[in-house]
Symmetry: C2
Subunit: 328 residues, 2 copies
Amino acid sequence: MRVVITGGAGFLGRRLARAILARGQLAGPDGAPRAVRELVLLDLVPAEGLDDPRVEVVAGDLADEALLRRALGRDADSVFHLAAVVSAQAEADFDLGMRVNLDGTRRLLEACRALPRPPRLVSTSSVAVYGGALPDPVTDDLALRPQSSYGAQKAMGELLVADYTRRGFVDGRVLRLPTVSVRPGKPNKAASSFASGIVREPLSGVDAVCPVTPDTKVWLLSPRRAVEGLVLGHELPSAALGDVRSVNLPGLCVTVAEMVAAVAAVGGPAAAARIHFVPDPLVQRIIGSWPARWDTSRAERLGFAGDRDFESVVRAFVEDDLQRPGEG
Amino acid sequence: MRVVITGGAGFLGRRLARAILARGQLAGPDGAPRAVRELVLLDLVPAEGLDDPRVEVVAGDLADEALLRRALGRDADSVFHLAAVVSAQAEADFDLGMRVNLDGTRRLLEACRALPRPPRLVSTSSVAVYGGALPDPVTDDLALRPQSSYGAQKAMGELLVADYTRRGFVDGRVLRLPTVSVRPGKPNKAASSFASGIVREPLSGVDAVCPVTPDTKVWLLSPRRAVEGLVLGHELPSAALGDVRSVNLPGLCVTVAEMVAAVAAVGGPAAAARIHFVPDPLVQRIIGSWPARWDTSRAERLGFAGDRDFESVVRAFVEDDLQRPGEG
C-alpha cells in the first residue's frame, strides 16, 4: 500500500515514518493489515535521514495541486496530514496560515476525493480549537471558540474532514493533540515552543527563555505517545468513530513550575537554573486561551494512552534525542 | 452611510431592505445613528420591486472579487450577508455549496478587510450547524456537528466571521436563524422548504406536499421577527457580543401536526386537506438532524424576540403576503 505523510520532513512526521517503516504494515481499505510498499514524505523541504527503499521524498507547497497529485499517486491508501503553519506564525501572518492550514487542507481533501477509493486520512488538530470560558476539564461536546487564527483554521479543517467523511470522499479521523513535548531540534514559531525549549535547552547546557508564568498550566503529550496515537488513529475501524470524527487525545496537565522541577530532577539544579522567565503577553494570551485538560474518556475507550508523569517524559527525551540524536 | 445586502434579491433580503429604507438610518461606526444614503442589493439576479433613489442594484456572482469591490464601494459601513446556496441544494451539489457558502463568504470578508474602516457585518447562520446527538434544548455551548454540507459550510463561515472580527478586519455578528416560515413565493431547494409550503400553498388554494412525518418538530421564526432580528443584530454595540459572535435567535418549537392545525384554524379544514404527506427520507434525515429548540436566554438578554404562537405567524403571512402580495 501507498502511504503519504504531509509535514513528512518535520520532527513528528519523520518519527511517524520510522514507526511505520518499523511496523512494516498498516490497516488496508478493508481493515486487514497490508504491507507498506511506498511511504511518501511530502513537505516544503526534502525529508532527510530516512534511508529506506520504501521512502519517496516529495518537496513543495501543499497548496500545489499537481504536487499533491504526484504525492498521492494513482491510488494512495492512507494519508497522515501533519503539515501546518504553527500557532504564533499563523497569528503573525494571517494570509500564510489561511493558505496552508485551510486551503492546503482543502486541496489535500480534494486530491483524496479524486482517488479511485476513499483513503484513510489521519489529520492532526490542536488544543487551540478551544477558547473562551473553558470548563476544567473540557468535554467532547464543548463548542469550539478558537482565540487564534491557527485554532480557527484547525477548527475549519475539522469541519472539512468530517463533511468529506460523511460524504464518503475520505475516511477521515482527526486527532486533537495536546502540545507535543519534548520536541527535539530548534525552537519553532508555535506559541507552545517553550514547552519543549525549557526542557531541551537546559538539558543540552543552553539557556532557555520561558515566556509564561510558572503557574501556567499546559496539556502535554510526549512524542512517543503522539506517534502511537497517530498509528492507532489510522488503525481504528471507521465505525469506531461514528459521526464524531475528532478525538481529544489523552494528555498530561502540568504547570510550568512542575516542568521546571522535572528538569531539575533529571538534569540537576544547574539545568533548571538555565530557565529564565521573560514574560511575553502574546504567548501568555494564546496559551492561556487553550484548555489545560480535557476529558479523555472517549479516547481511552478507543485505546489511546497518554503519559504517566512529566519526569518520565523528560527521561524519554534524554534517551531518544540526547543520547541517540540521529534517530529523531 | 452605505449599506450592502448580499442575497438582496431574495425574499428576506428585499424585506430587510424595505425595513431599512423605512427606518432611514442605522448605527454608524461609532454607534450613533446615521442616515442610510446608499443601499446596495447584491444578488445573482437583479433585485426587483424596490423603487427608491437610495437603492443600487448589483447583479453577479458572490465569488467575483471585482463585483464585491464594486458593491462595497470605497467605504461601505455595513454589510448584511444573506446570500447562500440552501441546504438541500448544497447537499445535491457539493462544489456549488462550497463555492458560494464558503468561498463566497471568505471573499466577502476579504473585501471587507480591504475597506478603510472595518464594517459591521451581519451574517446569517442556521439550525443546520448543529447535528448528532442533541440535547433539548440545545445550549449555546454545544459543539457544532453539522450533518449536511450546508451546515458544515455555515459553521466554517461562523469561524471565519469570528476570527476576522477578533483580528479587527470586520465587526461581525452571526445570527443563527430558525427556519424562516412562512416564506412567500415559490418552493426553494432548502430541505425546510415544506415548512413554508404547507402553509402558503393550501392558503392560496394549491395542494402541498409535506415530506416529513406529522410528529416532526421544527424550530421556526416568522419573516417579521427575522427582519427585526437582523436589524437588532446590526444595532447592538460590538461589546454586547464579546468573544462569542454567534447568537441563537429565539424561535417557536412546533410539530408539523400543529402547523397543519394552524392552517385549519386560519384557512378552514379545506385548506388543511390540501396538505399531502409524501415521505422523503433525505429531507427527513436532514431536518431530523437539526435541533427542534435551543436555549435562547442569551438572545433574549440581547433583546431578540421570537413569535408568540404559530397561528399568529400564519395570520401575519396572510396579512403581509396574501392580502398585500406586492410588498414581499
